[in-house]
Amino acid sequence: MAQKTTDAAAVLPPGRQPRLDALRLRLLPQLTARAFPIILVTALVGMFLRIATTSGGEIAGEQLKNGLQIGAIYALIALGYTMVYGIIELINFAHGDVFTLSAFYAILFGQLFGFFGLNVTTLAPSSAGGLIACLLLLFPITMLAAGITGVLIERVAYRRLRQSPRLAPLITAVGVSFLLEGVMFAKFGAANYPARKDGWVHGTAFTAGGVPVRWNDVLVLSTALGLMFALQAFVRGSRLGKAMRATAQDRDAALLSGININRTIAATFFIGSALAGAGALVYSIYYNSVQWNLGFRYGIIAFTAAVLGGIGNIVGAGLGGFLIGVISVFGSQLLGGEWENSIVFAMLIIVLTFRPVGLLGMRVPDRA
């Protein structure tokens, strides 16, 4: 392409050369956009090596694991953001708070069934069966409750505003966020709310290259990856998934082809919130405590992850989550933890500057 332009320039009479700045103007962004993933990976590897040389390979490996683990939770929240944005172009500010609320659900259900009270520590990992049974029960309940919350929020605060100016639902989203935070604050108090007396998934699963990987790391990562790919398969393959994609692309056309828009959007909210619920469950197992205002920070970072990956793109949101996790952990070791948030957001600004649709985002269809 560039070659051809030069040819054309060469045959032109003198004084009629396409101007250089004009050439740069349109070539540079394209080049940086294409090269950007490579630059990103190089930067990550560079950061990893830098940590490895200053603190030793095992520390670097552990930091990588730490990053992937926290990234997995970001990824699970980011999936909900990306789905909702993809379908109704709304930044659902309440999503982070749905995550927090779901963590309270998870703890309450866990206590209800005695899971958090049981000393399952002794069961894991030797009696993995008992543990898995607990999880198999807790996951669907928590996700169901989270999903229903999401659908309710959509019904109350967003549906009526679907035809309104775009900022109106954004403000109601902020309102819902305040409302949920207030409710959690009033119900569960302001302090960290402990999940149970003692963590219940313990023990080292295996050691990879000197890095001990614990069972709860395994739980977090496998949940995130599993749900991400399940979601991807669902959206690709199922009827509802197709309806979602159709609605996302052109709501009117989807309506004309017989898709129930309301139900599809509600389903999107249900699935997105249920995924946040899954994230919340693994969060409460991993960290053992929840606080009412947790959702704000996690929500913003997860949304950043969704944008980084290319909003509307499921694999992108997952990738973005993991990337943000790793970058924040590496960055906070290299530059100091106080810059962690700044690093994440600076990263975001850089990515969007050079690749305005995110890493895996698709180009907007051309119209003129």
Partner: protein
Amino acid sequence: MLETPVSPIPADSVDLPATAGQTREVESSAIFWLLAVGGLLLVAMGWFLPWFVEPTANGIGFSPQDVVSSSPTGVGTVLVYVMGAAMLALLAGLVVDAVAVYGHRGRALRYEGARAVLALTGVVCTLAIWVLIGLSHEEPLFGALSASAQTDNAVWMTLTGFAICAFAYGLRPWIIRHTSVSLAGVAFIVGGLVPYIFNQSSDFISWAAGSLAIYTLLGLGLNVVVGFAGLLDLGYAAFFAIGAYTAGSLFGSRHGVHEIPFWVIIFLGAAVAALFGAILGAPTLRLRGDYLAIVTLGFGEIIPDAANNNLFSQTGGPNGISGIDRPGFGHFDFGTDYRYYFWALLILISLVIICMRNLERSRLGRAWVAIREDEVAASATGINTVSGKLLAFAIGASVSGFAGAFYGAELGIVTPEDFRFAVSVTALTIVVLGGIGNITGVAVGAMIVTFLIFWVLPHMTEWSTTVGHTTGITQLSTVPYEQYSFVVYGVMLILIMLLRPAGLLPSRARKVELQTGMESESLAAVRGTV
């Protein structure tokens, strides 16, 4: 070049109703309603003022009606009764109006004469009380007064509210014809008199009004970015911070610089903020709406973070910068007489509003609207979308920088916590709630939001306790309202948006837009440079 236009072509036979004039009529009468209802609200507040401003020691306040009824001896009592009757008549008129508007297809009844008489009665009573209070103490006017100092504030507030109401009703046709002038005139006069209306607690009211003014400035600035140019900015507090830190570090004991006049400093704060606005704008030009939103959000997080981390040892870390000098004119120092801050802010806001209105009607304002509505067409029509967006960011940021510089000087301290995401959301809420793109709407939105945040929510406990004491329902005094302030605020936001999705005073264009959605796309996306 084609300078002379083409010769006329016979117009199509289609006859169209001239709807433009009607829209204008509707908007003007919205201003009328604002004045009328706002005036009534002020009257009501006057009656319940002790509850609003400051409960007495045991939490029980009283209204002028109490004074009047408890000792109906003074001349003022009679006047207040007359005024009350006139006000009730006007109130009835309001109801009649509302019924008429719905019953007669948008045509209000014509009884301007009667209204004018009622209004005149009120104005005469008002003036009489005003003059009498000036001549004598309140005791001969209202009979024996209790020690509570709030009573005459309440009287003053009632008077002012009535005066506005009367003005609105009596001069309704004139107001509808001269919307801006009347609104600005009333706002300026009443605004300027606020410290006197509340002469017993002028510090308090000036401070509260100052908070309102700061948030109004924030709303006005954000309105340029979000309302005029249609760029969603979620990190607006960053510029507020930049203005405040610029002024704070230049104007005070931090570097021992006291010589630079404050009025230079605030412009410097605005200029630095504008510069940062343009710097932020530059990388975001190619982004579509919500990507832009998240980048601005990120910027809004980075700035307070940098301040908190004591960037270049200039920002003082979590303690922020204190010892900021108080502003003044030459040798005259504002000190802690908050009336001066309030008046200065009032003048600043007026200037900003005038500039905003100028911008709105200028070449640049049209370019912004064009960019907002259709970036591709705007670009093809000869508008430099890049510089247009950058200017929107810079001008919006500069207003915020103004506000920030003033805020720092008024408070004497700037800390990173004052500029977190919640502030950006509050500013955005003001703009959206009031009516995006409408300057009057933004002012109204700021009033409502600050009233909620700084008066209603903090005082819920006290009001409830007062009501509990008065009614004997003691449970009311034990409700922990602090816990629910977020819930209440959230529910209010949701309800207002559900009921008025285009804001309380939507701009003309937004009203039209409401009927159909509109789509926009970025030039960069169309050009496929990604």
